[in-house]
Amino acid sequence: MSITVRYFASLRERLGLDEEQLETEGLQTVADLRRRIAGLRELPERTLVAVNQEYADPDHPLKDGDEVAFFPPVTGG
């Protein structure tokens, strides 16, 4: 199962990473993916998550081809 992971704003800059493809066999939910990524890189606690461009809870299920975005608290307007 392959997932596209995107990073935005200060998180993108801190990681020096815009987007990556992750093989995610054995991962069921957003919380699983988050733990996997936190094992690879520093992910601040206040990081928000969207799946396929909508906010997602930790127990949101993952499927092949999903786009999952991680980003800091928003500051628009």
Binding site: R6, F8, A9, S10, E13, A50, Q53, E54, Y55, A69, F71, P72, P73, V74, T75, G76, G77
Partner: protein, 145 residues
């Protein structure tokens, strides 16, 4: 759809005026409340020389349209307009416009404020400031109100 992300400078009152002329039937609405957020030359006690607004293309449009749907479900409003600037900009540049048309004023006022508060708290935009000395910083969070 009445939510737009703009990479160029925009004139918010021309947007409101033209949108109204195009989309609202004269005589049906009695109220239009609007809000324009503009880039300040100061923030959290520091002078700010420039700003860049990043967003999440795709999610942004979807989220702004969802907000408009929510406002229309909660108040008897006729139409909503949201415009948000992205990219590099300078002090005095308009950043965001929200406008709401309704028959009576309460719905317009309340829905307009709702759109702005929800946009500030949830829409995927991020501000990076360039301070007077040239150093850059990401804005950590919005002012409470």
């Amino acid at each position: 759809m009445p939510a737009y992300v703009r990479e160029q400078a925009f004139d918010p009152w021309r947007e409101v005026s033209e949108f109204q002329a195009r989309e609202l039937p004269a005589g049906r609405f009695g109220a239009c409340a609007s809000f324009v957020g503009t880039m300040r030359e100061f923030n959290e006690g520091d002078d700010v020389r420039a700003m860049t607004l990043e967003h999440y293309p795709g999610m942004t449009d979807k989220y702004l349209e969802k907000l408009i749907d929510e406002a229309k479900a909660r108040w008897p409003v006729l139409e909503c307009l949201v415009v948000h600037r992205v990219g590099p900009m300078g002090p005095g540049d308009p950043i965001v416009l929200t406008a709401v048309w309704s028959a009576h004023r309460a719905a317009a006022f309340e829905a307009c404020r709702y759109l702005m508060e929800e946009l500030k708290h949830r829409a995927p935009f991020w501000k990076k400031e360039t301070l007077a000395a040239g150093d850059e910083r990401w804005v950590e969070q919005n002012t409470p109100g």
